[in-house]
């Protein structure tokens, strides 16, 4: 109705934690957050998921590490990161001043490594909102993915981590599996508060002149708008089987994409590749989402979750 003014409630809940809005930024696409402060008011974001942190620092894979593809990009960074000790000493203090909720993404090659990283952070005083566990990185030879493709390993890892934290615990799922819902259920049944889906799809491209792969490690992870339909389908399938919230990831560039993921069953979303093009895009998407819901007279974001009207 023209002239009417409704106050849209964009808040959303994951576990016992409430977030001001459902638009998060995905791990590995926003650094540790403060790198972008000069370009955008990061405190407006629903949450910042920081780059994967491992027990020891990692230098990453040899170049070339990225290549642009139609509607997307392939990366094989190899979890280059500063390691948990420096994350705690140098990065956490800066994050805490930023005013945004942040979620720490953890990667490891053995379950003990995941555990140790989480324990080290739990041992200090921090206002970190929770953890996203990367069991789905396709770009390291050891670990990571082997958890993400096995329901049993996901169950064991989730159970062990759950015992060590009261904070929000999110398992990040891979699309490179036969049945993503089996992995999602394993996470849910062992104490995860939420799952996020999807990580990158295994992708490859070849320079036909040199006949070499465009990525040093041959295969990489495909992200960007090209994978959005796979993300939507994964969220939809998970939402039909799981009772815990799902965070939708994959190719989001607009408020319309956020709504689409939400209709499929997402309670929140993460923006990934689009941050590389415009680090401030998350803020614009939040504003657009608010206007879009206002225009449709929808006063509560959460009322859209899972509302897709299927034909059968």
């Amino acid at each position: 109705m023209p002239g009417s003014l409704i106050l849209v409630d964009l808040s959303t809940n994951l576990g016992r934690r409430q977030f001001a809005n459902p638009v998060f930024v995905a791990s590995g696409t926003f650094g540790y957050g403060f790198e972008v402060e000069r370009l955008a008011d990061i405190s407006k974001l629903g949450a910042i998921v920081t780059k994967s942190v491992t027990l020891e620092p990692r230098t990453g894979n040899p170049p070339p590490r990225i290549v642009e593809t139609t509607g997307g990009m392939i990366n094989s960074i190899g979890l280059a990161n500063v390691g948990v000790e420096r994350y705690i000493s140098d990065y956490l203090p800066q994050l805490q001043g930023g005013g945004a909720d942040f979620i720490m993404n953890i990667a490891g090659s053995t379950s003990d490594e995941y555990l140790k990283v989480l324990e080290k952070v739990e041992a200090i005083s921090t206002d970190i909102a929770g953890y996203e566990i990367n069991i789905s990185c396709p770009n390291v030879s050891e670990g990571g993915m082997e958890f993400g493709v096995s329901a049993d390993q996901t169950a064991r890892l989730t159970r062990r981590l759950r015992k060590r934290t009261e904070r929000l615990l999110i398992m990040k799922l891979s699309p490179n599996v036969t049945d993503i819902t089996a992995i999602g259920l394993a996470a849910q049944d062992n104490g995860a508060d939420a799952v996020s889906a999807i990580n990158t799809l295994v992708g490859m491209s070849i320079d036909i002149n040199s006949q070499r792969p465009d990525i040093y490690r041959t295969l990489g992870g495909l992200s960007g708008p090209a994978i959005k339909p796979v993300g939507i389908a994964s969220v939809y399938k998970l939402a039909r089987k799981l009772s815990i919230p799902i965070i939708g990831i994959g190719g989001i560039t607009s408020a319309e994409d956020v709504i689409e993921y939400t209709l499929a069953g997402a309670s929140a979303v993460q923006i990934g590749t689009a941050n590389f093009r415009d680090p401030a895009c998350g803020i614009n998407i939040i504003n657009d989402l608010r206007s879009r819901l206002e225009d449709s007279n929808i006063d509560r974001y959460q009322s859209l979750i899972g509302q897709v009207k299927t034909y059968q």
Binding site: K51, R65, G71, A80, F276
Partner: protein, 256 residues
């Protein structure tokens, strides 16, 4: 460093497949530090090609920023079709700069699409009245947009001998060095050229700074995509072109 929509003031062809664009970017003035710095350009609003393109700055005067670019694919072609009066989304300035050593004679070497930062350095040295040499290399004469002026140490080379000196940018170097033994080389260009300059300067024990290019997503050190091998330099096996570079001491780089 800012992200702005910059007004295109001019966009014109300089030589075969070589174009120059001038952008109104007064808001970047405070962050401009010198040749070597680059901007990330969003060529098209379409998501078919999601990433910005890194491009070296070829000049910055009175709030106007210049880029010189070579047409070698659909994106650079698209850029050449943009008209004065349009706006272009740019992010920058990013990266570090060449560092002139006042004790050493600067020899500037640019090749192909990599001539932009070298051109800017040349113009700055020229404006400051600092003696230096400039060597620009191309495949053929039609790609050159200036005339050679040997009396001013401005030398052109072409692979096919159609203009200036026949051969690579290394050909005129010994003669310049004979007159200026205490020199330092500053260069940007295709990797085979940089590799040759690295070998040459190492052999002659000449200090050299090379500006390198890489595939890049964010330009901010976040994506870690523009890593290059730096053979242990700066205490790490890989460095990021965007935040550690794009200018490196020649000895730091490992072209593999």
């Amino acid at each position: 460093m800012k992200q702005i929509d910059a007004l295109i003031v001019a966009n014109r062809q300089l030589a075969h497949q070589i174009w120059q664009m001038e952008l109104a970017a007064p808001d970047l003035a405070d962050d401009i530090t010198g040749p070597g710095q680059f901007i990330e350009i969003l060529i098209s609003a379409s998501w078919e090609k999601p990433l910005r393109r890194p491009m070296s700055i070829a000049g910055y005067t009175d709030g106007k920023l210049t880029i010189i670019y070579k047409i070698f694919g659909p994106s650079s072609h698209q850029l050449s079709q943009r008209a004065a009066g349009d706006y272009l989304s740019i992010m920058g300035p990013l990266g570090n700069t060449f560092t002139i050593n006042n004790q050493l004679f600067p020899i500037l070497i640019g090749g192909g699409v990599g001539l932009a930062p070298v051109w800017w350095l040349h113009r700055k040295l020229e404006a400051a009245g600092t003696a230096h040499a400039l060597i620009l290399g191309a495949r053929s004469g039609e790609e050159h947009f200036i005339e050679s002026q040997p009396d001013k140490n401005i030398l052109l080379t072409t692979d096919d001998g159609s203009a200036g000196i026949a051969g690579t940018v290394l050909v005129p170097l010994p003669a310049i060095l004979a007159n200026n033994p205490n020199s330092m080389v500053f260069s940007c260009g295709p990797e085979p050229m940089l590799r040759a300059i690295q070998e040459f300067t190492a052999d002659k024990q000449l200090p050299a700074q090379l500006s390198v290019e890489s595939y890049m997503a964010c330009g901010l050190g976040i994506c870690q995509g523009c890593a290059i091998k730096t053979d242990g330099a700066r205490n790490k096996p890989f460095s990021l072109v965007c935040t550690d570079g794009p200018v490196f001491d020649a000895g730091e780089l490992d072209f593999g």
